[in-house]
Symmetry: D2
Subunit: 368 residues, 4 copies
């Protein structure tokens, strides 16, 4: 597989470069019969759109999605859904001085070595702009999941050293938060931190948390396509991610079995788990609890400070990156995490449908 | 894909349960012409074998590998290599009391819900024993990589709260370390910690670090099959892994762009990178530096302390897990990490061969 | 994909060479809950087994299947089912004189060029013996299909120039026919023809017809994984197949639209199709009628007559192939066709389960 | 896999319906460095374009291809190449009377049963118009193959009962033939036959032959992804194909081993094969000779004669199909066969690159 395709039954294939004609995605295998219009997808794209915040790139793209196929009389037809987002505000000239230099923290050298040439304008295919296509596809996956009672929600959990306090989780605040943070106090501090970074021509990273609710137990395919294995591939495929954790993540490595195991307690409503250290995944299958995922994003590598970079001539060159860049990409990445999670979950649910002989009977009949 | 297959061109398919007749793996797509005998594989399996340490399960398996196909006159023939490891020391009766209860921290409930039935003997397919098959396959991948100058080495970086000091890295010590730790001082403390856990019928987790040396730049497939995305799937597919990090991992989220970017410095030998925060991967492609990977393992969920578990009757049952279990699996997981990494790297290198038209000419000729 | 794997959700991976330790197949993704024992599979293998007919190779293999994994307490567990068939009656020495010569009609040269070496004993991996593994897997697929009311039946339709008369189709005769022919008269003539071939140290080809009954409409995936496209890949993957036809096949190219279209007629039981020129497949999807498939097999290439063959020294060598060979393989190939068809149909039925949103609701619930 | 994707390393994903906004294809994995412009692709599309012949649909589409991504400064960049062809001349109203009836010979019923709804305008996704996307992709594959010395050429071998005489093969005539026939005499008769069909509101079928020259031995992957198996899937995925043959095809089933085996003869230039009954494929691998492929196309199912069709109400309805239809599609299918063949061959050549350890060394170096 050549790498631009993800998923087995709900399968997306993306294309497009930062400064080409546009971006697109083909969603193949979407179940037929889902009501779908462009507005359903636009809502998700708008959450990712640049130019809406002081802390995001000034590139002004409306990112309007166009449905080119796969929808008939307002419903998905089972055939591939082709979605296109045109590039509008390309300033390709901003990049001509990057032709012969490999930017630190970017994939420039890797692309050059792999392909023998590279589109240096805005990172070409390696640009974060590519994620717009995933968001368009993910909006569809999220809509299918909703139809069977499953929700996927992500938010900014930290920016630089500023961490949201779980006990201050405020859904209301999250809805209108410019940084997608659920903790008003933390957001205030994060803004201050970002102002500091921007003043110093520097950038910040952060973490995104994602919660999947309503997932039945048993989703995921042993042994290589485990739920967590597929989710981590999905999240690490987002350019700037450097770590993925499930449930307690790294902390699990420091705890003891007696602490880490999630036990049961008698509640008024029958047995209930008293903790969710596992993050809803055991042995690679969902366990019926909420799935808890965390992804860590590195700081934006494009900064205006002078950096020492390797040139294609094998020499070192001082480099000051101009152009329009996000001082932090985390808030815009929140919806990307949500969408990649939704795509992964839906695909594994579709794959799980044939796990039991009795499900074949449910769909096809046959003797019982 | 049904889940027991990993890789595109170097492709492994594993089978087998903890208490069935044995375990196996079919390696399809191994390049032809590699000298291979059972001893090459056995060396890796012996590193994973149980019963060799006070801190591992007492189950006594020789884990002898048998090559059933794909090798002709001492060389790989290009055809699928079938490897079989028989189960010898099964004590299935140890598990009969687990028939109707879902162990905390295990996949029992997930399997039951997914398939409607489950092999409860030693976790069946979800047992860590399944990883023996991967190690057998990984030994072959590592041998191919060696032929083209690439090495993959892993070690225990922490057990519970005891962390190896990178500045005390001692290759010599690592070679003979029972816990696969490269720091003698840390290993001593880890032993004490494990004795304490065992005395309290408890278990410990830990982390494994892995380093890939010699990898050329440009390996990995944009955008979903990035090198880090594939590695993280590979590592998360190992049962107990709860976090995967590349390079600085979680710390990257807290640092600034000016700190996190790896810059170049003039050295006697031409330009050199002064740091490797990226862990050798940028934008999903190798960047020519060593690849640095970390995986966090949760503590062994099977502990002898009384736990409150859900039964298949929907009631809570106190459970004391007997049988033979590892108080910590991390030292035995080191070679599994190494092997999954080798398989992933080799597969992506094989996929990369057709990335440039000039490589087709190198292999097939044609006009220049 | 390296080539030894077939199917997406019901996925088989075969291994083994003609003169190695044995052959095997891993069936991954078999729905859980199917009653399965070795006898169910053996029944199919016995139909393919050599040594049972005057017109088949004298190699004596019992081809006993062993289930190594994936079945628990008599039912499939959802985990990979590993099946092994040991080689017993290898006469490897018969082949030592083929080491340096490429047999006409065989894959010898292709293997040598592809891999740089080859297992020349009995054709190694390219031997028809490899199909035993497929039959073992196909027996399981057929059993699942039976559970949902679908049957797959194949038979010998012609041997050399002797063609069965469809109007003389005799189910009873077919059951006991040594050549798997449903027409007693034709079988008699076919025997005479084969005796003639054998007397002249020559071999014969033939055709196999296969019928799938009970398949609902809509099975197959547009546009590349059409039902006929997948079936033809499945059948052409059997070594000696040189043509595949669906329905009227080649004759369709000569007929007119008004003849070839299957129209409807009012019958006592509502509308009925009056013909099945399409062979049950339209636009790559099943149309509700029986699926009709034909495969043409070339004559066995191993003949004792002197042939002029290319040697690895680049010279021409006269070659007389000794060893034990089938004067015709068609009767033994009947069950292979049946099995590859069953595997293909089941896989596509499993893939089809997520085609409609309402099927997701059937399996997972959700609001209606 | 959801079905709209073909290929492993050279991988195409198509989308679009006959009467939607347009058609498209994403080509992922094309080797980087190939000079490519729209004109290279347009040349192939023009060969398939409707409206150019009296014997083709009157629908007037310019079928202009637009490259939206993957090409940088005139060369392929290794990233996905997105190609779009807009629909212009849709007469959707022509089809409103087909909303509630399933056309004989078409996939209408299958789509309805599979998805629960269908785009009835011009067959929607099942329209032959979908093949335009494949032709666009195939033009690129053919261009890569040319760079390494391989050519793929197809032509009309028969229309209805009129068969080209191989001994009258006239390359010059073929270049300008309206019916893509290499035999002027046959073409004249075919025209007469088609006039007759058209006068009777009927349609014709035919066969296409395809020849691949320059392919080295050893291409194809044992055992399921054999060269012939992949080619047959590729060709059967073209809507109207009902049979695929390699080399002697069906005739092989009637011949004897001594006739069918291709033997060697001493020539002035060393050993030469005296025949090519195998069609260049033995045991699923290319054998160094030209690859010979034949595909049989059924007559166009859309005819204006009255037919008895099933309605969605379960009743029979007399149906006269109006709209614009090809009385024969074979001449326009020639380039589709060529393109699907080129895609298949290139993908398998790319997959074959890692078959030998020495090829890894050629690309990556390493010790020898």
């Amino acid at each position: 597989m050549a790498g631009s395709t993800f998923g087995t039954l709900f399968r997306i294939t993306t294309w497009g470069e930062s400064h080409g004609r546009g971006l697109g995605v083909t969603v193949d295998g979407c179940p037929a019969g889902l009501p779908l219009q462009e507005a359903d997808i636009q809502e998700y794209l708008d959450r990712r759109r640049p130019g809406r915040s002081r802390y995001a790139t000034k590139r002004s793209e409306t990112d309007e999605v166009e449905i080119w196929s796969g929808v008939f009389e307002g419903r998905t037809a089972g055939t591939p859904i082709s979605l296109i987002i045109r590039n509008a505000d390309q300033h390709s000239k901003d990049y001509s001085d990057l032709k012969d230099v490999f930017r630190p923290g970017h994939a420039d050298l890797g692309y050059e070595e792999k392909y023998g040439l590279r589109d240096y304008r805005g990172g070409g295919r390696s640009s974060g702009r590519e994620t717009a296509a995933r968001v368009a596809a993910g909006a569809i996956a999220a809509k299918v999941l909703e139809e069977i009672g499953i929700t996927v929600k992500a938010y900014t959990a930290s920016i630089g050293p500023v961490v949201c306090d779980p006990s201050s989780f405020d859904e209301e605040h999250l809805m209108r938060s410019e940084l997608c943070m659920p903790d008003a106090e933390a957001e205030k501090k994060a803004r201050e931190y970002l102002e500091e970074c921007m003043a110093e021509q520097d950038s910040a990273g952060g973490t995104v948390h994602c919660v999947v609710r309503g997932l039945p137990a048993g989703i995921g395919e042993p042994v290589f396509d485990k739920l967590d294995a597929q989710l981590s591939q999905a999240l690490f495929s987002i350019g700037a991610v450097k770590a993925v954790e499930i449930g307690d993540g790294l902390f699990a490595a420091m705890s003891r079995g007696s602490e880490n195991n999630d036990q049961y307690l008698e509640s008024g409503n029958g047995p209930e788990k008293t903790s969710n250290h596992a993050g809803g995944i055991l042995g690679g299958l969902s366990d019926g609890s909420s799935v808890l995922i965390r992804a860590a994003f590195k700081p934006t590598p494009s900064i205006a400070q002078t950096q020492m970079a390797l040139g294609s001539d094998g020499e070192i060159h001082p480099l000051e990156i101009t152009g329009r860049h996000d001082p932090v990409i985390v808030p815009r990445a929140v919806v990307v995490v949500e969408c990649m999670t939704a795509i992964t979950i839906l695909d594994l649910m579709m794959r799980n449908m044939s796990a039991r002989l009795e499900n074949l009977r449910k769909v096809y009949g046959g003797y019982s």
